[in-house]
């Protein structure tokens, strides 16, 4: 094989947990592990559907079933489509992004515990594991976009190109918040196995507290009728994933710009400001999450 060892390479200094050399150094380490990330992502994807006939096609089944349930059962049986135009697309848009968020966090939260054999035996930047969960969820998300395109064809209506700009802040919130939460929950789950169940329940709550299957102004009107209504409204809007869902509906739900969508027009400039402030807060959150992760990840191996 490689024969004589050629020259001395760089060295690394291993220090106690929590005395890491800063977020930029950690980021560089993470970048150097991109081959590992690719390998782990393809391992997850290949492993998950190995031996099944549809393979990655299975990832389309869930949104298709959801599309059926929400357009027929909720839309027609329950009559939601009478107050919201193109109800199926409305729900599907929010649902696709919600699946990305909840899949990455749910799997991310257990990413350290399920890979304990790896963690106990090999050294690599530990952030790779929660990041893998996010990347895998992103692949599924991109495949599921097919269902959305299918729905557009079905309704033969397409979103306004200009509105697609709203996807930018949405993505800039989804990544730092979902990845940041995976970082924190994954290390917490090593210490307290309750975490994964709390996360599961929290995400169910998050689903209904985000305007996915109902328009935001339904909640807004109700909250206004409560005592301290303004306070509850603001609290509701603090949910970053709620904002993401609203932004992607603005971008991808065709009736938003027409009279049919007028019941849902709230996207004035305060919303854009709120969205960008939320982007800023999300990246600060990711920074804090990474610091917590580094501090705890050095010691978790003992608890695995």
């Amino acid at each position: 094989m490689s024969g004589q060892l050629k020259k001395r390479g760089p060295t690394v200094t291993l220090v106690p947990a929590g005395r890491s050399s800063g977020v930029f150094k950690d980021f560089k380490d993470l970048l150097s592990a991109k081959e590992l990330l690719t390998a782990l992502v393809s391992r997850e994807l290949a492993g998950k559907y190995k031996g099944s006939f549809l393979g990655l096609g299975w990832t389309l089944i869930r949104p298709l079933v959801m599309l059926f349930i929400y357009s027929v059962v909720i839309g027609e049986f329950l009559g939601a489509s009478r107050s919201i135009a193109q109800f199926a697309i409305f729900v599907l848009v929010g649902l696709l992004f919600w699946n990305l968020i909840s899949d990455s966090i749910n799997v991310g939260a257990v990413s350290l515990t399920t890979n304990s054999t790896l963690l106990k035996k090999v050294w690599f930047p530990r952030e790779v594991l929660p990041l893998t969960s996010f990347a895998v969820a992103t692949v599924h998300f991109l495949v599921q976009i097919i269902v959305l395109v299918f729905a557009y064809l079905l309704f033969s209506s397409w979103p306004n190109v200009q509105n697609l700009l709203y996807l930018l802040p949405a993505v800039l919130i989804v990544f730092p918040v979902a990845f940041g939460m995976s970082l924190i929950f994954s290390v917490l789950n090593v210490r307290f196995r309750d975490t994964q169940y709390i996360v599961e329940v929290g995400l169910v709550l998050g689903f209904w507290l985000s305007p996915i299957v109902y328009p935001w102004n339904f909640a807004h009107q109700f909250l206004a009728s409560l005592p301290f209504g303004w306070f509850w409204q603001q609290l509701y809007l603090l949910n970053p994933f709620g904002l993401v869902v609203m932004a992607v509906q603005q971008a991808l739900w065709p009736p938003i710009a027409t009279a049919a969508g007028s019941a849902y027009q709230f996207f004035d400039s305060p919303f854009a400001t709120r969205l960008w402030l939320s982007v800023l807060a999300s990246w600060v959150f990711l920074y804090v999450a990474q610091r917590i992760f580094v501090r705890m990840a050095g010691t978790v191996v003992v608890d695995l």
Binding site: M1, L5, T11, V15, A33, R43, A46, K121, W123
Partner: protein
């Protein structure tokens, strides 16, 4: 000769008390032994010279494996620091991270990237790896059908082909059958001749005599002797 690994005042403690759930954490926080710790390693300091092979000798529970894990980076020290080459391969647990559903070949690529080797570099040695493992016939079989011996052979073959500056080895003699063991030992000799540095954990005196230029003896987490192998072996025998 310069130093390739420097271990400076490394200590490692473990909590004696262990709780798993948040409830236990809340209720048992004031328990008597909650904050008691056990010192697995205390103020370990030694260097490994470039291109040499160092043996770590000690009884069960002396802290050898903990120290090796700290050098590899899997565990962090509680205090002190370790300076080592980035390019380090650890033969701690062979086949860690094998994906049962994937074939041997796929696992070679995956495992090499876990060990920090680029895809391009791996492809250059992939034939050597398959050759060395001696299981070329089954390389396209999912590893879940492998016997434990085949598993270890493949793991060893991958780890040893990562072109490391430093090799960490824990109890190599446990791998495979006689002929394969001999092959492993020959390969380690070869790596020594190539100028790679090795840290070798064992409680077998024979291994120390055959392979090592120097040795460190650990007992109850402390260094009780270091220097040439003969002195170290005497110190080991003198342990009560």
């Amino acid at each position: 000769m310069s130093t390739v690994v420097s271990i400076e005042n490394v200590s490692r403690e473990f909590r004696k008390y262990y709780q798993r759930t948040f409830k236990e954490f809340l209720t048992d926080r004031h328990a008597k032994n909650f904050n008691k710790v056990f010192m697995a390693l205390e103020n370990i300091t030694f260097q490994v010279k470039d291109g040499s092979t160092l043996g770590l000798l000690g009884r069960n529970g002396s802290g050898k494996s903990t120290l090796l894990k700290i050098i590899s980076g899997v565990l962090t020290p509680s205090s002190g620091q370790v300076i080592r080459p980035v390019s380090t391969a650890a033969l701690l647990e062979l086949g860690a991270g094998f994906q049962p559903e994937m074939t041997g070949l796929e696992n070679i690529l995956l495992n090499s990237s876990i060990l920090g080797r680029s895809r391009k570099d791996t492809e250059l040695v992939i034939d050597d790896i398959i050759d060395f493992s001696g299981i070329s016939e089954f390389i396209d079989t999912p590893v879940k059908f492998y016997s434990s011996g085949m598993y270890a052979r493949l793991g060893f073959a991958i780890a040893i082909h990562t072109d490391p500056e430093l090799l960490l080895v824990d109890e190599i003699l446990a791998v495979g059958d006689g002929p394969f063991q001999k092959k492993c030992l020959d390969r380690i000799k070869e790596m020594q001749n190539e100028g790679r540095s090795i840290i070798l954990v064992t409680h077998d005196i024979g291994t120390i005599q055959n392979f090592c230029d120097a040795a460190v003896v650990l007992d109850k987490g402390k260094v009780i002797a270091q220097g040439d192998t003969k002195e170290a072996i005497d110190a080991y025998h003198a342990l009560p």
